[in-house]
Subunit: 346 residues, 2 copies
Amino acid sequence: MKKPEINSIEIARLAGVSRSTVSRVINQYPNVPATTREKVMRVIEKYQYVPNLSAQIMAGKNMRTIGLFMISSGLVSSDLLTNMLITCVIESASLRGYYVLTHIIRNTRDQEELRVVKETFHQKRIDGGIFIGAANYEPLIEEMIMEGYRVGIVDQNLPGSDEANRIVINFDNSRGMQQGLDYLVGLNHRDIAFISGDPLRCAGPEKYEGFLHGMAAHGLVVHNEWIISADFSEEGGYLATAEWLKTVDKLPTAIFAVNDSAAFGALHALGEKGLKVPEDISLLGFDDHILSSRIQPALSTIRIDFSSMMDKLTETLIESIEHGLNRPSRFVVGTELVARDSCKAL
Amino acid sequence: MKKPEINSIEIARLAGVSRSTVSRVINQYPNVPATTREKVMRVIEKYQYVPNLSAQIMAGKNMRTIGLFMISSGLVSSDLLTNMLITCVIESASLRGYYVLTHIIRNTRDQEELRVVKETFHQKRIDGGIFIGAANYEPLIEEMIMEGYRVGIVDQNLPGSDEANRIVINFDNSRGMQQGLDYLVGLNHRDIAFISGDPLRCAGPEKYEGFLHGMAAHGLVVHNEWIISADFSEEGGYLATAEWLKTVDKLPTAIFAVNDSAAFGALHALGEKGLKVPEDISLLGFDDHILSSRIQPALSTIRIDFSSMMDKLTETLIESIEHGLNRPSRFVVGTELVARDSCKAL
DNA sequence: CTGAAAGCGCTTACAG
DNA sequence: CTGAAAGCGCTTACAG
């Protein structure tokens, strides 16, 4: 049933050369005369010979595969942004002739899950891995880096950690927060609340700091009462905002959410309280989630170009796999204000 | 830098047994006494030994990886439904200890793309593959099946093709169309238009047939003028509907779209013409796209449980890889009406 | 119950 | 420019 597998010995015999020469042709070594090369190529084409991958790996070649690890407790299939990041990486890798092994990590404390992930590296199923959604300090990632595996990380800031096999990409959180606050202040808002994110992730504290700085830069005071603690998720944004609405004395005129998902949740909670956006209160997000332009009201936000961000990360990882990198790689991607309908001028 | 790789010879030496025995322990052969097993396991644990995957493959084991091939011309990362299907498969496979290699096929006529896909099978990178979005008859898929590879296919109906290595899953298009028409007729609609899908895909003609049957069952006439040819995409639905609106004499009271994406496009085109849904015209979709409940007006539709559908397909494929299947596998998943706000009673 | 040995299919120094 | 041979690390009949 299966196509009768042909191997390099057979090809060599049919072409009247040795396996060494077949291998040299396959691997495009320069020291093969054109005539020999063509002779061998003809046989290869004729029999549609494809070298056995496992044998190549055992002889020291690359797998041409990268691992993609999404750390996420919820059901990933329902998170649009996560889904998009996955396909971005796949497309980018595919463009460069690489395959992507995707794995979803539900719980980074689950030993069995960790074992599977580590095994992926140890078995050499992959030449390197990309981690998305991890805490700023994640033991699993640090272990893989210590062991020398090449790792790409989205959203991490670990001062002093600049191993050559660590590739990090961040968005410019402080500039993004600044842009958002400039926009809100430009609309004459002075009473601004902030929905914060998971403090364990890198972007959480960074955005919070950015908020404090931006407010200070505009000479505005930050009311503790107007700091709403959430966790980047829609549900978290909803619950935190609903809770906050029960106790808050005086409402701000605007809410700056740590990301769009949290803003969706807040929108929901505000709606339940009968508060209209932007008539009663303005709402600004961060990310430019795929849904943001489609919800009612269309959400104003700070856009991050996730697509080119993941492309850059994937490209750099593959480059480091193929050519080796001896310098640490860090990138910061820009942000951009997208004004839609969720913020009104006072 | 890299962890000093330890191999089975070393483990055998440290445990005072032969490699054969180590292998027997690893592979959980029954004929190893508990004491020997434990002795070996202790060494394995101590050195965190993981067998080399490529060596295992060469010795005849499974890769424990399935390929996922998305056939899609557009930028997949922007298609929510596609993204969701990808993560469904990943989650399902992961649950069973399998890895997923995802690949996006832009153009099934591009020889280079085809070569890469076939290579994935030939190199034995994967133990089987799942194809989504292919034409009903896709030479690439047929070739892989002919060569004996195990293949899972979403949405295919090829009479007489029932090789044991072909696993097919379909949604119940005719029943779904029937449910939709029952609903519309129940709302007293009699003038019903249909936006059709890509005729090369399996679901295209099936839904069209279903529409014709359903209309006949209700004693309603199908006006040629009210058959709008599109292709399952939002853009296609938009363009076809916009064009149709320019020429149509008398408007129907309802439009049944071949899927939700097409319905989104139609909604857009209707809006541009100043036609309100459902006030001026009712609109019914098919799929229950992730956005359907969130758009304005929330789209009534025929739901397919994509998640359990992909889970079933993945499960069956993995089962067939591990235990072999000698009977062809075909599944049909049910449909369910979800009434929201886009259809009004007359 | 267990070990020695063959076999899987490549790549790459090495020697010429 | 090219071939013979070693080496990669497993599994599994085979023999005992």
